[in-house]
């Protein structure tokens, strides 16, 4: 077995993704022999499935609280750094309040935004994640449009 031939083989760019895929595959197969465990003490816990249906019009996303008055009770990592914790979760826009009084399926449409638990996480408590996420979209869009507009 000539080892030089092997080095030459892995130096081709089109081989690299395949090599990496196989390597990752081998690592992921280990998972079947390692017991995965689930810690019950999770951040931002959900209520049990279907427990809120027809009890609240914000069905799966009702976390309590009154808009602009009482903040919702959510469990975050560092409450001491978040002075307005739970207030965004409790907030509903006026059209959202109007709609939620009329239909019990309001929560499934995600129209409570801005406001609601997901917006609290995305804009406030983990806002830096969303900055990077939209930065990725921005950068890839720049690459895309530059390549597209300069392809002649």
């Amino acid at each position: 077995m000539d080892i030089g031939r092997l080095w030459n083989y892995i130096s081709r760019p089109d081989i690299v993704p395949r090599l990496f895929a196989v390597f990752l595959c081998l690592i992921m197969i280990i998972e079947f022999f390692v017991p995965t465990s689930y810690n019950e003490d999770q951040l931002y816990p959900k209520y049990p499935p279907q427990s809120q249906v027809f009890k609240s019009s914000l069905a799966p996303y009702d976390r309590g609280g009154v808009p602009l008055k009482i903040p919702a009770d959510i469990k975050t990592q560092y409450p001491q750094f978040e002075p307005i914790r739970g207030r965004i979760t409790a907030y509903l826009t006026p059209p959202a309040i109007w709609l939620s009084e009329r239909t019990p399926y309001f929560g499934t449409t995600i129209v409570s935004t801005p406001g609601g638990i997901l917006d609290e996480i995305l804009y406030y408590t983990r806002g830096l994640d969303t900055i990077l996420e939209s930065l990725t979209l921005l950068v890839s869009f720049m690459i895309f449009s530059w390549v597209y507009l300069h392809r002649d």
């Binding site: 089109d14 990752l24 560092y78 990077l132």
Partner: protein
């Protein structure tokens, strides 16, 4: 002090809170942060190199970077530098994985403006690896979150749980994203594109990311 951690990174200087994501400064991360920002400034003020390609049986060819190409590549290099700098400070596993994804895509951006077939070929295969390695990175972070109930490095540092497999997954993601040893070929081809200071940004970011990932995996 509740957020004070002992780690391989040296003395703990302080933290900058953004809600759940707390950036923290240690000896190591402060130095890396300054290096990355300094190099970003260098990239901003430097003009790109010109490459002289010698040809067999003909005149030599001068490769230079046009103004339009320079603008986008400089922007990508600066974004890459800033992201590398802040990736040194972040104290959250998922946030760090996102930083890696942004750095990967800016690396593609630095070379994507070059209209040479072999450069784009290498960039394409590197992009494929970068896309594949989002699985181990984000998946590893999610498995750590499931097992320990937190993503914060500062919290994980005090818990001492057995996270060997999750760490392996996370490291595999980093290996793909930065192109460590056996998977270097696509990234090494990208370095050969003309336009020196921008290309070196790819180098610097991967080096700093490799060290920083090692530090994170030793700390948690």
């Amino acid at each position: 002090m509740f957020l004070n951690i002992t780690s391989v990174a040296g003395e703990f200087y302080g933290y900058i809170p953004f809600g759940d994501i707390v950036l923290y400064v240690t000896e190591f991360s402060a130095i890396s942060f300054v290096i990355a920002l300094f190099f970003t400034l260098v990239v901003y003020f430097t003009k790109p190199e010109k490459q002289l390609e010698s040809q067999i049986g003909g005149f030599d060819k001068l490769n230079y970077v046009s103004l339009e190409e320079l603008k986008i590549r400089r922007l990508m290099a600066i974004l890459c530098g800033i992201c590398t700098a802040f990736a040194m400070l972040t104290g959250d596993l998922f946030n760090y994985a996102l930083f890696l994804a942004v750095i990967g895509i800016t690396n593609i951006g630095i070379v994507s403006a070059v209209k040479k077939e072999w450069v784009l070929n290498a960039a394409y295969y590197y992009g494929i690896i970068a896309m594949i390695s989002t699985l181990p990175l984000f998946g590893g972070a999610a498995l750590i979150l499931a097992k320990t109930g937190t993503l914060s490095i500062l919290e994980l540092a005090g818990k001492h749980q057995d996270l060997l497999f999750q760490k392996m997954l996370y490291a595999a993601g980093m290996v793909g994203e930065t192109g460590v040893a056996p998977f270097y070929a696509a990234k090494a081809e990208m370095f050969r594109a003309p336009g020196a200071p921008y290309i070196l940004m790819i180098h610097l970011s991967s080096l700093l990311i490799v060290i920083r990932t090692a530090e994170i995996l030793l700390t948690i």
